[in-house]
Amino acid sequence: MVVLEPSPEIVEEVAAMLKKGSIPALREAGNRVRKTPAPSLKSIDIPAEFQKLLSSYLTTGLVRLSIQKVQASDELQQSLQDSRSAYTILLHRLPVLRLPEYSPYITIALKSGATEIWQAETTFSVTALVTLRNTLVTLREEKLREFRFGSLNAGMSIYLKKGPIEEALHSFKRDLTIPGMMAGEK
């Protein structure tokens, strides 16, 4: 599975979310770090790892589902049929995309060698509305070959899954940049 570099804006939002201290697994891991005598263990910054990974997953899910939605749009389906030779199209405005829900999950495990002593999985649920402007899509041989965002505005809500219930953790709406996937980038 390809995991993209996290969007810096999403990193900021995840940091703000984690600051609230609402992830039980992180609290438990922190307690275990404090209790465990091994000095090398204490140097691991679990919240930072957690933040980085979750930001990457949120970004990847957002991008993947956005591409999926664009690919499924009528405009693109029409264009794909005429794409024997490569050409790039510019999609000025697309309707607001309501992305299907996706669920990033993070597992924190305490191990002794290969033996797992403790682990806790945290599953999130994410819903997003995406507005795309000036999207560049390169088509060749009836396939999408390249996808570049002109601008990407996302309204995102992140929930914490607790069995059958979901607890709303964080929501934001802002312009995002996706490293390596923006039209202006080299």
Partner: protein, 338 residues
């Protein structure tokens, strides 16, 4: 003329009088009986019973639930005065000033020292004072113990005998070791020795206490007991020495007069050498020195992993994967050119 008898009445007059009397009785019976039937029962009015107690001068007295301890010491005093005092005045720290007017006050002594307690009780008849010199003795604050321990070795094959060493601070006086975290106390010694006979990762819990308090230290995965290494799992390198090349060494016979060695002991040095070789080889294969094996803690580490689950089919996955691959290839090409 016949003389009139003065002692006799005229019979007519007597009859008249009897008639009148009967009528009067009848009248009275008719008039008085109904009235009598309505007469209320007699009300007996007694003078009120006024209890005039015999008030006596109170006799002051008191006790305390504890009279000695370390600061901060909270003492609950109980009034034991006689003759029904109606007010109390306690000087609990011996400074001559009243500290409480309660019947049974509570007081916390935060400074070490010896304290005189005075109770003055009063009622309408008078007052009395009880003084107890140096009644409360407060010692210096003793810090609570802080549990801590070390163990050696912390990793090895079963059966693994581990020597635990108490490293608690602030002088605990009691120790409770649960060396396998099963909830039962395995030892109350200060520095116990425990043999683990089953492989596994063991959490050790030490609880210590003193008069000043109690503390607990839990070390997750403090002891790791591995299954015994068998020859089949870790084959050791062997060197075959041809029998023909072995020099024949004459074995000297023991002197007849000397102590006869049991036959098993003749093999002891050889057994020790073989054991050392096996241990060395085992440690070599594990890539660890003998010092590391005994001194290192368990190889504990955290892993943070994860993934994404999509509710719908991953139509975009191939594209994203191929795009990233293409980008990586392009990067590599550009780097190759430069």
């Amino acid at each position: 003329m016949r003389p009139q008898s003065s002692g006799r009445s005229d019979p007519g007059t007597v009859r008249s009088w009897l008639f009148i009397t009967a009528v009067l009785l009848l009248f009275c019976g008719c008039a008085v009986m109904p009235a009598l039937s309505q007469v209320q029962p007699p009300v007996i009015v007694r003078p009120p019973m006024t209890l005039i107690p015999d008030i006596k001068i109170p006799v002051a007295g008191f006790t305390a639930d504890v009279t000695a301890g370390t600061a901060p010491l909270t003492v609950r005093f109980t009034d034991m005065s006689l003759n029904n005092p109606t007010s109390w005045s306690w000087d609990l720290d011996g400074d001559g000033l009243s500290d409480s007017q309660a019947g049974d006050p509570e007081y916390t002594y935060s400074v070490a020292g010896s304290y005189t307690v005075t109770l003055t009780v009063t009622n309408r008849a008078g007052k009395d004072t009880a003084v107890k010199q140096g009644f409360i003795t407060v010692g210096k604050e003793v810090p609570s113990p802080v549990a801590g321990f070390s163990a050696s070795p912390v990793r090895g094959t079963e059966p693994l005998t581990v020597r635990f060493a108490d490293e608690s601070r602030n002088n605990p006086t009691a120790w409770w070791w649960d060396v396998d975290n099963d909830g039962t106390i395995d030892s109350r010694e200060k520095n116990p020795v425990w043999t683990y006979t089953e492989s596994g990762v063991y959490t050790v819990r030490l609880t210590v206490s003193s008069d000043a308090g109690k503390d607990e230290e839990v070390n997750e995965a403090a002891i790791i007991v591995l299954e015994p290494v068998t020859a089949s799992r870790t084959p050791l390198p062997t060197t075959n020495i041809p029998m023909t090349s072995m020099p024949s060494i004459p074995i000297p016979l023991p002197p007849l007069a000397g102590p006869v060695q049991p036959p098993g002991f003749a093999w002891l040095p050889a057994l020790i050498i073989v054991a050392c070789l096996l241990t060395g080889a085992y440690l070599l294969m594990r890539g660890r020195s003998s010092r590391q094996a005994s001194d290192d803690g368990p190889d504990l580490h955290f892993e943070v992993t994860g993934g994404i689950e999509y509710g719908e089919d991953d139509a975009g996955e191939d594209l994203l994967d191929s795009m990233v691959e293409e980008l990586e290839e392009r990067d590599e090409e550009e780097h190759g050119r430069t």
